[in-house]
Symmetry: C2
Amino acid sequence: MTDIFFDFVCPYAWRGLEMAALLRPQGESFRLRHFSLVEGNHPDNKDGLNWRITDQPADADGGEEYMQYQRPSLNAFLAAQAAYRQGEEAAWNFTLALYRAHHEQKRELEEATFTQAAQEVRLNLEQWQRDRQDAAGLRRSLRADLDAAAEIGVFGTPTFVLDDGSAAYYRFENLVRDPDRARQLWTLYTNVLHSGAGIATIKRAKHRPAHRQ
Amino acid sequence: MTDIFFDFVCPYAWRGLEMAALLRPQGESFRLRHFSLVEGNHPDNKDGLNWRITDQPADADGGEEYMQYQRPSLNAFLAAQAAYRQGEEAAWNFTLALYRAHHEQKRELEEATFTQAAQEVRLNLEQWQRDRQDAAGLRRSLRADLDAAAEIGVFGTPTFVLDDGSAAYYRFENLVRDPDRARQLWTLYTNVLHSGAGIATIKRAKHRPAHRQ
């Protein structure tokens, strides 16, 4: 069982989840877990988790630029936590539908989008809306994921945590739609983590604007 | 031909060079190139290369903590640039000898260490000392490497730049001494860069100290 940590605002996490979705019918199992980029990058959290997204109101407007993600991220997490109470398949279906709505169809992470995703994947809507009223319970489950992510040292999404505890951020630019390509990508990733050389980082350089002479 | 950018102060670059050295007899060719971590991380260089290590005196004492590397790094580069005038094998031999002296035998990057490395790999010592007097010429060659690194967007060492221009930082913790393991590590790296998915980053999470509740 591999844990996959993600934030709905993150396009890299979307690609990672689509890869994982292609691997599930091939016998790989993944557990869906939430990690908040806003919380992870919050300046008050440099020496520990002092600022928690789970303590913020659902309608909070983040002040700083990067905080613009706070409200959509938190509300997407909470809508998803409610969906997850309907079982693993419902959880995967809702998660992928919401990711595609946001990153493919460019819809905002807001109430209308959550509801449309729930309808699209045929959640039990009545139950889902009832579960969404349990704000304290949903925030507790979310917080358990965020606490686990912090213990592991997750810093970005998607981060995959393998059975043996090895964990790494895995970022790729192109959406994979072919199961064999997904398998190759996954094999490559696990080979890197298990190479025996203790590979800690492979990170592409980016061409910079010409420097001053 | 793969360019390998390195700084003598960096232990990860040392491991990368040892891997490359094991691959050379297997038909891979690498060009030795310098990248200065002190210059790359200098606060004045956020918007371009305003502060150049090649403009600093050889005996400069960096003030800030990270600047402690300035003098040893610059002087190792210049000693190596002089050695490189004696051909490719001399360049590899001197580079590896100096890396091992510093990172394995824990000797400082200073004059006595440079001279011992030069003797150990049987450089033409007279020529080497004469070439070292050409401070302006050595700094020009060094600067050409640093300029090239900046164009590529090198940010850490070792960074390998493949024939097709793809470039990435490659960090691993364990020294490789077996040629087959070196081949595996290299194949893994090139597969990651050429996966077709545009893999930009694989980076391990690190367990953090327990957060505050």
